[in-house]
Chain length 200, copies 2
Amino acid sequence: MAGYHVPPLERLVDKFESLPGIGHKSAQRIAYHVLNMSREDAAAFAQAITDAKESIHYCSVCCNLTDGDLCPVCRSDNRDRSIICVVEDPRDVFALERTNEIQATYHVLHGAISPLSGVGPDQLRIKELLKRVQDATVQEVIMATNPTVEGEATAMYISRLLKPLGIRVTRLAYGIPVGGDLEYADEVTLSRAIEGRQEL
Amino acid sequence: MAGYHVPPLERLVDKFESLPGIGHKSAQRIAYHVLNMSREDAAAFAQAITDAKESIHYCSVCCNLTDGDLCPVCRSDNRDRSIICVVEDPRDVFALERTNEIQATYHVLHGAISPLSGVGPDQLRIKELLKRVQDATVQEVIMATNPTVEGEATAMYISRLLKPLGIRVTRLAYGIPVGGDLEYADEVTLSRAIEGRQEL
C-alpha cells in the first residue's frame, strides 16, 4: 500500500488474522470494529483475553478446562464416577453435556494420536487417565474420540492399555446421522450403520 | 449446559462472538486457540487491542485513521491537493491506494446517509469536507462512495453542497466489473455500462 501505514492498526489486523478461520479481510473488518468500540469496551475485550489466559487451566482430575482446582463435572456430587467418557477436546465435553445423556465424568486428552502431525501418545493426557483407572471404582471407559483416522487410532491405543486391567472399554456407535439423508451418506458410514443395525 | 460453566472462558467466547462475522462456534474455536497461546502471545494480543484503541484517531485533515496528527497521505509531499477523493470508510482508502491510480488526497465520511439506520448528514464528516474545500486549491471532488442506495444518496447530497461553490464534482464510473461475466451482470449494472459506453 503506497505509503499508507498505521502500525498499531496493522499489528491489530495481524493478531486477528492469526486466529483460526479468520482471513485478511475479516481481520480488517474486526479491527475497525474494535476501533469503533468505546474505550471501556476495548479495554474489557483486552481484559477478557488476559483473564481467561491467567485463570483457566486444566482440571487436576479430568484435564478439562476450568478456573477452579476441579472442573464443574468433577466437583459435582451427581456424577457416576464408575464411568469415564474420554474425549479429544474440551469442546467435545460441551457437545456431550448438551445431550444430557452422560452421567459419567470425562477425561480430556487434548488431541489425538497423529504420527503425521508428530503427536504421539506422550503428548496426550493418557498417563493421567491410566492413573484414574487404578481406582477400583472405574468400571467402564467410553471412547468418545472423533470418528476420524486419528480418533480411531487413539481409541484403539487406549483400549489396548485398559482392557488388560479388566476395564470395559466401549466406543460411540457409528451410523447415519439423525435428520440426515441416506442418499448423501458416504459408503463407510452406511456400511457401519448396516453392521450396527439393531432390532426394532 | 447442565452445570458446566467456566465464567472467564464464557466471557471470552462472548467477546469474540460480538465481533462482526463470528458466530458462536467460531468464537469458541478462537477462544480455545487463545487459551492454547503462550502467556506472552496472549498478553501481546490483549496489548495490540489496547494500543490500537489508544493510539489511533482521525487525521485532523481527512478524518482517515492514523496514529499521528496527520495521516500518511495528508503528510506526503507527493499528493495532489487540488483533488479530494471522498469515501465512506477507511477500508475504501486502502482499496483505492492499492490501485495506485489516486494521486489525490482523501476525505473519509465514516458512513453514508441512511435514514433507515438513523444516519443523517450531521453524523458524517461533511462539515470537515466543506471546511477543506474553502481552500482555493481544491478544484475537484471525486465521490467514491459505495454503489448502493446510501452511497448514491450521500454522493448526491454532497455534490449539491459543493457545486454552488464552483467545484467540479465527479463520480466513479459504473459498469461491468473487469473479469466478470456479462451473463451474470444484473440489469442495472448492464444498463449503466451501456449508458456509459466509450469510443474504442
